[in-house]
Amino acid sequence: MNEAARRHILSTVCILGFFVIWEILCLIFNVSDIVLPRPSEILVTLWTRFPAIWPHAVQTLYTTLLGFAFGIAIGVLLGILIGSSRLAYDVAYPLLVGFSSIPKVAVVPIFVLWFGAGTVPAVLTAMIMCIFPIVVNVATGLAATEPELQDVMRTLRATKWEILWNIGLPRTMPYFFASLKVAATLAFVGAVISETVASNRGIGNLMMIASSSFDVPLVFAGLFILAILGVALYAGFSLIEGRVTGWAVRSENFAGGG
């Protein structure tokens, strides 16, 4: 067995162990499922009530991904602007920091006021949650581009766009992907916050209703779904990241395939 396989098995065992210990502790201390359901109960709930949970999960995934996509588009554009213009940096950074300091749950009612309850506020909340880390990372990546690399292009009389496209953006990719992994999980938070406050669909709404009827296993089933979706999205971006920015970690894998 090689080193990598052993590490994988070990980490899987530890993660499973976490749930096993949870299960055992609940049994030993006889914890009521209204306080903290056991993982086995949560899995049973997931299985038996899957038809009821499924549409909510799809709705949450849909609003999250849509908000995430908008967030990436706007975040990258803003990041490029801030990273390449001093004036844009001075103007936009304070605004951005101020804006991101506002608790997002406080802006959901405003979105509801503007667009009505449902999908749109969830998408918008997911979007504003993930813009900030993307902007900051893209702008930092651009600002951190080595001047020597730019000099190579400047002696070739490259235009600003050519420098941005050939040097700035590729150089920024490791920063960008680092921010995507943070942003992907934040987008879920945003969508669920909005669903909790103002929607009749989505995991947030499901958990809201379940908790008001003390159906705690269903609440935890919702949390499980969110966690699984979040991990899946994170893993997806990690995979793409490895392919696109393998150069940054000098991966032989990247060198072979690229």
């Binding site: 020597e148 000099d151 190579v152 400047r154 002696t155 070739l156 009389r157 490259a158 920015t245 690229g258």
Partner: protein, 276 residues
């Protein structure tokens, strides 16, 4: 090959009473005192001198990455600006882009510089690729096109950097101590490669270096510079016939030339240190 080849008339580089200063009126530093320099087509000129003498400043002026405070800089008869002559440059660090393999790194100028860039998307897999492979083969990097920069040694990276500087047939090649960070043997190997490239293609070259042996081996003309304020204090022709060999660098006439250059620089430093 003799030095006196028939070449197109005219100067590739003309610095006319150029001055460069940094800082405000209170703490002004003169990086380059009033300097004039002419480099003819096909010449290989080396700039030598102590640190801070303005060697790199001259290079940056010609490269167009630094603007003169006073005076004019002409490259190929036109004032240096966004539309000026085709320039290739190699730096002290190889500055290869880590996300591109060696082939794409060397190909980069063809993507940027007219007229190559017009046909880049059409020819990148055909003609341009062959061109890059041929140029890599010439410096001993044949078959390394798919490698990434970090997989190469420093000397190999620097060779790739030379290829990139020359791939678009520049009329002017600027070398900013490109062999400075290499070990002695790799350096001598690259001198030979550089000399052969120059004999084959005859670009005009401006080389900045600390290494007097390197200057005497490669250049057809050496300008000695002095610091505070930076200026050219000596300008002489290197008489040795080409192709020169490393053995030549142990010949008495070669040694006496480098010795003379060294004395010139040491004397200049003494004057400089005596000054307040």
């Amino acid at each position: 090959m003799a030095e006196s080849l028939s070449l197109p008339a005219g100067n590739v580089i003309e610095l006319e009473k150029v001055r460069v200063t940094f800082g405000g009126p209170k703490n002004q530093v003169t990086a380059l005192a009033e300097t004039s320099l002419r480099v003819a087509h096909g010449e290989f000129v080396a700039l030598v001198g102590p640190s801070g003498c303005g060697k790199s400043t001259i290079l940056k002026l010609v490269a167009g990455t630094l603007a003169a405070t006073e005076g004019h800089v002409f490259v190929a008869g036109r004032e240096v600006d966004a539309e000026s002559a085709r320039i290739g440059m190699a730096f002290q660090n190889p500055t290869l882009l880590p996300w591109l393999n060696v082939r794409d790194n060397v190909m980069m100028p063809l993507k940027i510089v007219p007229p190559f860039k017009k046909e880049f998307s059409r020819k990148r897999r055909g003609e341009y690729r062959d061109r890059v492979e041929a140029s890599l083969a010439r410096v001993g990097l044949g078959g390394f096109g798919d490698k990434f920069p970090w997989q190469l040694s420093g000397g190999m990276q620097q060779r790739a950097s030379l290829c990139r500087a020359l791939i678009h047939d520049p009329t002017l090649l600027l070398l900013d101590e490109p062999f400075g960070a290499l070990d002695q043997f790799t350096r001598e190997e690259l001198w030979e490669i550089m000399q052969q490239l120059w004999i084959d293609k005859r670009p005009t070259v401006l080389l900045v270096t600390h290494d007097l042996k390197e200057a005497a081996y490669l250049a057809s003309r050496i300008c000695v510079m002095q610091a505070r304020p930076g200026r050219i204090v000596d300008d002489g022709v290197v008489p040795f016939a080409r192709p020169r060999t490393i053995d030549l660098s142990f010949a008495p006439e070669f040694v006496s030339l480098t010795q003379r250059l060294r004395e010139r620089i040491v004397a200049a430093r003494a004057v400089q240190e005596a000054a307040p």
